[in-house]
Point group: C2
Chain length 331, copies 2
């Protein structure tokens, strides 16, 4: 294992320290328990938006703390749900008195720890609503999940929730539009290589030099199937078709197309994948109205990509376009 | 070789196509010869800023075309200088009638092809000034260069030049401030892994599992020396010390600290490296006034990092802070 780390047990803490130092104008890192919060805090009377989950998926979630997106995030150990205490602390930090929306990726341990953490915060007086993200069409149920996994569609949910809160929407309204966003986004990914959890020191799974894994999760969980390493066109067609078969959109629908790198994929390849994915989305009769290409929801240094499609409407488009200023996403 | 590509000979073209489709509001890709230009064009009467070089370093340069940075870029084949025709076309496209500044990384073939390309553009009536970037302290002269190589400091030069041009500075003034930026930035990098040129299909060099290469270039050229794979603290101290020994800044000087991923390094590791680099810069008596952490000047999928330090002054800080809106850098 070669990584730019020191003590593997301190990898998350060291990385958060760098994040805090580099972006002191945007966010602050707190400890005991560990969470990340907007430097300016949640404005009084505004709904707070919180997320979190295992580390190793950066910039998700900590890189999305800031104006127009998350008010706080609870980062667990690598590929490990945050503790209930972390969740409770993040919710309290994000509470501006108008309630808090908590966005949770659908993994069994995340769901459980967020549930307990939210209860702690509620007992202390917070009003909290939880929205579950389960956008991965690759698999139903797994060793990590009951139902579908939450993957790159989480970015869409967090952007929409943050923009709705920034616009001054009430708790019920933020929840409703975030749930609509979740119901309209689907994702599937491919892995070209495995990844190594620092504390483990060896790759999480083996993937031969001449195969790729279609339908991979963001923890290196098994996907749907393996195929011989193929061209970007073939791979992206498989991913887009799986996503669109599930979404079943009417011809002419306007969509957001998100091409997301898994951590170790260079920008040049992401744009090749975007071109191929876009071709396929258009062949299937949809209009790509918005696009995002980059490395956002990752599995450490894994090479690969996920493709998400989200059905837009006027409100979701306006919320997507609204200003955002975070460490990892700014417009 | 596993990459998200189709025909390796079309990798650059396919990637540029994706870039153009994803960012049609910011830039346009032109062919015969190939270059990338701001969608809105250079405003009349404003100095144009052009750069370019081999592909494989994305998002440099094409990802920096847009408001407040480059007006056009000429991307060559992977790790291959653009042709003089590409340079000439980019210069013509960026010419708003007030002259064009061309920023060239110091590699023998880039210098030569830009020289000829600029001559062609000048014969057609353009007024052009060239600024050479040579920020890499690792090596003097190599198979690719006479003198020092141009690496991640190029981002600093392009940002400063673009901001100066956007502010309405004349050609001489843009050249002067860009040259000042170049004279004040130094960089050194480390490779943890090699990288594979698509058309070659095998890694450019071998790096054992237990060694890293200090002072690597952005084409996988050899660095200063190899050491056993060490912790981030040790590596970053070596890089920062080499950079600061060369810059020889007075105690208390305000600097920009740029931690740049080589393509395959996850965000979490970049922030660990940033924390370590910042500690060392401060130990050496300097004040980190501005920071940038991300993947900007790369070697395909190489894992590794480069660290740049730039001495700021009021004007350079203001130009750095000025708005920018490109595919890869926005604030």
């Amino acid at each position: 294992m070669k990584k730019l780390l020191d003590d593997p047990n301190e990898a998350v803490t060291d990385s958060l320290r760098g994040l805090g130092l580099a972006h002191a104008d945007i966010l602050a890192v707190r400890h005991d328990p560990t969470y990340v919060v907007r430097a300016s805090g949640t404005p009084a009377g505004r709904v707070g938006v919180v997320s979190g989950g295992g580390s190793g998926h950066e910039p998700l979630h900590v890189g999305f703390v800031g104006e127009g997106m998350l008010d706080a995030a609870a980062p667990g150990a690598v590929f490990t749900a945050p503790s209930p205490d972390q969740v409770a602390a993040a919710v309290r930090a994000a509470d501006g008195g108008a309630g808090v929306v908590v966005i949770v990726k659908n993994y069994t341990s995340d769901v459980l720890n967020f549930e307990v953490g939210v209860e702690i915060a509620e007992e202390a007086g917070a009003r909290v609503a939880t929205v579950l993200v389960d956008d991965d069409v690759a698999v139903e149920d797994s060793v990590y999940t009951a139902g579908r996994r939450g993957v790159a569609g989480t970015l869409f949910a967090e952007k929409i929730a943050g923009a709705a809160a920034a616009r001054g929407a009430g708790l019920d309204e933020v929840v409703a539009v975030t749930e609509r966003a979740v119901s309209r986004v689907r994702t599937m990914g491919v892995a070209l290589t495995s990844c190594t959890v620092p504390q483990v020191g060896r790759p999480g799974f083996d993937l031969p030099d001449d195969e790729v894994e279609i339908g991979i999760g963001i923890h290196g969980e098994p996907g749907r199937y393996r195929v011989p390493a193929a061209g970007a066109g073939d791979i992206c067609r498989r991913l887009v078709d799986a996503v669109l078969d599930d979404l079943a959109l009417p011809v002419g629908a306007q969509v957001l197309l998100l091409v997301n790198g898994m951590g170790g994929t260079p920008s040049s390849e992401l744009y090749v994948a975007y071109a191929r994915a876009r071709d396929r989305v258009e062949e299937r009769g949809l209009e790509v109205a918005r696009s995002l290409v980059g490395t956002f929801v990752t599995s450490l240094e894994m090479q690969g990509v996920s493709i998400s499609v989200a059905l837009l409407d006027d409100e979701l488009t306006a919320l997507w376009d609204a200003p955002v200023r975070t460490a990892a996403l700014t417009w």
